[in-house]
Amino acid sequence: MSGLPKISRRTFLEGAGLLAVGFAWTGVSEAEAEAAAVPYRGERITDPAQLDSWLVVNRKGAVTVFTGRIEMGTGTETVFTQFVAEELDITPNRVRLVMGDTRLTPNQGKTTASLNVVRGAQPLRAAAATARKALLALAGVKLGVAAEHLETGDGFVMLKSKPETRVSYGELIGEKSFNTVLELDGRSEEDITRGVMLKPHVPLKSNRDFKVLGRSLPRVDIPEKILGTFEYIHNVSVPGMVHGRVIRPPSIGARLLSVDGSELKKLKDARIVERNDFLGVVADREEDAIEAVSLVKAKWSKTEPLPESRELYGELIKQRVLSDRVSFEAGDIVAGLDKGQIRLNAVYDFPFQNHAMIGPSCAIADVRADKAILWSGTQWPHGDRSDIAKMLGLPLDRVELIWKEASGSYGRLGCDDAAADAAIMSQIANKPVRVQWSRADEHIWEPVSPAMTMLIEGASSATGQITAFDYVQYSPSHSTGEKGNHLAWRLIGGAPGWGRMSGAAPNLWYNVPAKRARNIYVEPWLRNIYLRAPGGIQAIFAYESFVTELANLAAMDPLEFRLKNLMDARDIGVLKAVASLSGWEPHVNRGKNNGASILKGRGVAMARYGAGNTRSSLVADIEIERATGKIRITHAYMAVDCGYVLNPDGALNQVEGGLLQGLSRALHEEVSFDRKIVTSESWADYPILRFSEIPEVKIEFLHRPDLPWSSLGEAGTVTAPAAVANAVFDAIGKHPRRLPLRADHMQKLMGSI
């Protein structure tokens, strides 16, 4: 990067001066920064069918964009900036985003990283193109020529024949309304939750015409994050705010029987906040709130709602079935099984996992008798606002939510439990309350990624053609923690519960004449919420382990076996790319008990997964120390085909991070519990991948300049567990069908070879 980006921050006031919105930017002069501070007078509209809801151009031509989507550290803010700059023909440093503020931004549903570029950006792009067309028309009037003689560039409309005759966007529209109605593409609740779309009445640019997209615009949020000045939710401070801490039951579902707060007298200004089974403390100073937790003596009823952890997977298939759905089905399974000379039945198990945010949940609420304002790191600002309004018994229009970025959560903040905690505490304390969860609160009480057990029966011909693939998964839904199922709401009573069954098996990309996937959703033990590739990472671990096991039975190279069963050129392309990147040498499973102290293996896995069917493939090289069972991943080679690459360096950052997170989930991660409660309560009990464990990594993106872009948030992650497990299979000759691949598990597995 040449030179130093200048960092500045402006805060400006809206309306009566009550509502402050902060902006951060980089690489712009003070004058440009000043120009970006759009003054808002009076109420902003947030109706998605109005162009003015999406963007405002000020007198100096700076553009402020309003989006209900949020940044989670994945680069959303940057790529959204690129989308708008591209369609509006303006330099990206003149575009600012306001994200996830229910007072100011249209409802764009839930921010799921996998849908951001495919769906979340769509209305911004359409709005920017519509605004550009409106600016051309305004310039036509001003310059007295027909719009077809005009073109746009760098924030100006100019004569095609005489570019020096030009008028700036600021002069044309500065601070005035477009007053343009847009047409929504779908208005159902499902459409809104997934993200509102606009009908593209104005043509959008095609890939080949992109000037801003397709380039590695540096992340707009990174400089402040590096300088330590970025305002995370954890840094928000509100006048009169007190510090709150939650006190949770010693077992799930326990009722609060009695509370003794007499010891609290030791602390100035500390008090108990209590409603039904919800218990917490507030204090003026944060350290006093922490100490107060240890001083409160509470009695709770005894409960034992969880299964024995060593019986987990057996219990999972015995749990009450809530729903049994087929997600894909083709051909005659029985006939397909009969046709294959090679048969395999296998069961794969994937554990409960934490989102494991580095910064535990935090939120602030200021709840008054007739209104409330919430500051939250939620991924679903409008959804959490609506749920918490209901919980508080306030009308929706009296509750607002201001999003501030939280610690990277990969789905955990689909429902922000801390915001509901803060709201109840503030309602009781009648003061603004900041709630900060402890590390143990987060590890024990976060809604986890549910455990899954997966049964596959399949067959292949002697020459390696898969003839049948019959898959059944058992797990709780991945979204039992949302839709008002906040922990706090459950504890005060009256939570509406949840309904959505999510985490279905993705379509199988292999060309198999008889295939089927059944998704059996069972009664949950713990609250669950999406974790990066929900349902996908689990199913793909099973699919890709099974395919390698079948290849082994057919005495074939696992990569060659896959190619034999693929039809789609992009699937084949991504697999061949990783073969070449890794220098793949065809081999049949080499695992053997040869007495070596270090056993080496290489595994491959691939996937077609996510919005727009992103393809990814991974080759992992591992070593296992026979004496300890410890796995070291030495190399990881990954190829990705996500269609058009919108921001190459941003895409690489996502895939690198996703890959390492996937390796972490494969090697280490498992929520442990006893009959009462989750027992993994810190990084000591729930390790994640560390610096000393990272392999050498090579990543290649396939060049697809003319294809549409597809999701990228999950591409790095989904193949990691299967590739590593397949490498273990190659090293020791026995497939570890259960994750995580911890040393003690590996020792047991090797003990039996």
Binding site: S407, L659, S682, F691, I694
Partner: protein, 150 residues
Amino acid sequence: VNGHKKVVSAKGDTPLLYILRNDLGLKGPKFGCGLGQCGACAVLRDGKSIRSCITTVADAEGSNIVTIEGLSSNPSKPHPVQEAFIAEQAAQCGYCINGMIIEAASLLTRKPNPSRDVIKTAMDGHLCRCGTYLRIINAIEKAAKNGKRT
């Protein structure tokens, strides 16, 4: 703290982190675990990286504390480690990055030219959920190289 004498009134066993964040308004150091396990709260104490979540204010009294806000000696220019992190785009959510930068600055003071293995070992007590480790290593190598040039 950051070159200035600061007087605060608090119980001696209060973790330094809360004094920095709540009393002195220095919110660069982050709360991550309160157990000294993750590194998000790191600050320099007399030039050495420490965990401010498990260091009491009484213990810190009289020492020279530098937070990420005061890391650069030149207020209009980031510290070379910060420059390298920006150049390498070495962050995703960025919550852990405070600790990464503090630890890296401390490392490069002790060992201006560390190998990748030395970097990995020095940084091993810092956790990143987003998996930004590769870029962080590259950024530290870059900062070391830049340091050698100047």
